[in-house]
Subunit: 388 residues, 2 copies
């Protein structure tokens, strides 16, 4: 068993969208916001180590981005490790930060996620997104990311009779949530009809089933639970962390209607948790495409296989429902700056479990889960949080 | 204090040089060699997590390389995290693996380093190496990596009267060591005169003061110390691990004759160690340029500031000397596949501390240190090892 438990004592993020700022300024803004959110303050010199999740789109002309974070976070010699696991980069960076605390070697660390996507030429952007999936059997054969998720959606509809409307409802719900989130990229309500009639990207998925291209950064300050109350009366405790991997190419996987990496990550995270799936207040899930939210709900055991569609159509996953999913708008509407997403999910959890989520507050939120997926399911992390 | 100590029970690597194999085959070869080196064997399914250090040169058309390692190492669902900290990628990956064991969450992990450099077009290679240093104040102004180390060398010669011959002697010694290492890229003796007359790259450094462009992969199997003896009677114990960072641009640093990141990493690593600097049997240091080995010796406290040159000229750092440095040939002559170097250094330690280094064996080797530097000193890790 770990010698220490980890807790979040501060979190901050930039607005998500097409930002004018470059990566340096975005890092600084997110980190400064995280420091400013610590109720009784924390000195920069107390941070002993940092972890940066970023895919690092080619457009920046910056390598060794760990060193850039060390400078912008004014760490004065504390080491920084860059973690890159495609769209799950920050989820894995968070996991690494949690382990540093749990190892007893660190009592305060910074976890940051970053991506600047909108200023990359579209050809470069396609390349960097494309190589996060399989190259030999998928990308070079013309299968895009949307194409892969289109296959998963078709198979899910075939096996479980999942209605196309349930996919659309995921987008409608997440846009409605994002309307309440001042940091979200899309603050615009959409209708089920608009999703269904949006230009087809990869059958059955339309444009409004897909998450956007986004700039953004998010930062988390973690300390050991035993030290957390120096900084705040309401730290957010991390009670479980799990991760898993799967084949890169979907053709090599056991199932097309389930992501084994998510299942494995969830199993590990819940193994240590003091509470179970039935006690969750809400979840932040990796809805890069609408089908991905349904898969996540089922893989996490929040609905039986094939059961997520009915739950979604019955508005159980909407704010006000039994188990709100993506109260911040999710990847679909808050936006999906690849390497920042996993940290931004935890930043939302930090606000929700402290009752600071304003108009999108989940009532009596006490226990939360985040799920972050790399590639088309080649890796995943699941983290469990609890209000103190 | 950590609840567990980490130990290496297996290590393997590819030959270093211009390899015909692609990244997948290189990963497989290094990982298979590590598994094969475990005295009583270890099942692939016992490995609970893996960490991959790689800069990921652009030439591969592969992203999400963590997933590729999961496949090639046959991890069957165990998570893989890619760590990228420029030339210190594998040093930081090793550190992350050590913390996973020390946190008590993992009892067996795989740490791998990988780089395939020789097949990248030279323009792309220059870009990927260049961006590991500062872009705004150095690279775009025309300052190359060799240029930065040339400045450090000039300043060191100015402040301490370091003779040019001492730099040359580093290269001569490391080539002599590499002659004894069947995995080394350069198995060719060179003379001091050849180094001194080699084509000038960045004053005062000549071509033979610079490490080569190299393909290579290295893999380490770590378990908790308490579990290690299931697999071997002679695990190599990890008794200290430290890391540090510094400004990306050399102009922002406090000194040009010392790397603060190395000093900080060493201080942290020795804080926990049961023995001190005077008890080291040998060291594997990051000699990307000859001056870097002298800086490392001084920053690690193995010689006083300005004292490494005399030590080198007196052959104290050669095999047979008081404190052999880079018995495997170092980055200079074994080769420097960026993301693989930190893991390969530890693989050499594994052989040496088990008395398996054949012709280059350091007599009675019992305690060792590895130092891995990212960029031109923006980050560094130091790891301490002990024979069991």
């Amino acid at each position: 068993m770990p010698s220490e438990q980890a807790a979040i004592v501060g979190a901050g993020q930039t607005r998500f969208g097409a930002l004018r700022e470059g990566p340096r300024a975005m890092l600084r803004e997110a980190v400064d916001a995280a420091f400013a959110s610590v109720d009784r303050g924390i000195d920069h010199r107390e941070v002993e180590e940092a972890y940066l999740g970023t895919l690092g789109f080619n457009g920046w002309q910056i390598g060794n981005v760990s060193a850039v974070l060390a400078e912008e976070a004014r760490l004065e010699g504390a080491p920084v490790t860059r973690v890159e696991n495609a769209c799950a980069s920050a989820g894995f960076a968070l996991r690494t930060g949690i382990q540093a605390i749990e190892s007893g070697q660190r009592s305060a660390v910074l976890v940051v996620g970053l991506e600047k996507m909108t200023d990359a030429p579209s050809r470069r952007r396609r390349y960097w997104l494309g190589v996060s999936g399989d190259t030999e059997w998928e990308r070079l054969a013309g299968l895009t990311f949307a194409g892969v998720y289109g296959l998963l959606a078709s198979r899910h509809m075939h096996e479980f009779g999942t209605p196309r409307e349930a996919l659309a409802e995921v987008a409608v719900k997440n846009h409605a949530h994002a309307l309440l989130n001042p940091k979200a990229q899309f603050r615009k309500a959409i209708t089920r009809e608009e999703v269904l009639s949006s230009p087809r990207v990869a059958d059955p998925l339309g444009l409004l089933d897909c998450c956007p291209v986004t700039d953004g950064a998010a930062a988390l300050l973690l300390t050991s639970a035993s030290r957390a109350r120096r900084y705040t009366d309401s730290p957010v405790l991390i009670v479980g962390s799990g991760a898993g991997s799967d084949s890169l190419a979907v053709q090599d996987r056991a199932s097309l209607t389930s992501l084994a990496a998510t299942r494995r990550a969830a199993e590990e995270a819940f193994r240590r948790s003091p509470w179970d799936r039935t006690q969750l207040s809400f979840a932040e899930l990796h809805d890069c495409f609408t089908i991905a939210e349904l898969l996540a709900i089922e893989d996490l055991g929040l609905a039986p296989p094939g059961g997520a569609a009915a739950m979604t159509l019955a508005h159980e996953t909407a704010l006000g429902g039994r188990l709100p999913v993506n109260p911040d708008g999710g990847l679909k509407a808050k936006g999906h700056p690849i390497g920042a997403t996993g940290a931004s999910q935890a930043a939302e959890v930090f606000l929700q479990l402290r009752g600071q989520a304003e108009k999108r507050q989940v009532p009596a939120a006490a226990r939360a889960l985040t799920q972050n997926v790399g590639g088309s399911g080649a890796s995943a992390t699941v983290t469990l949080f609890e209000a103190s």
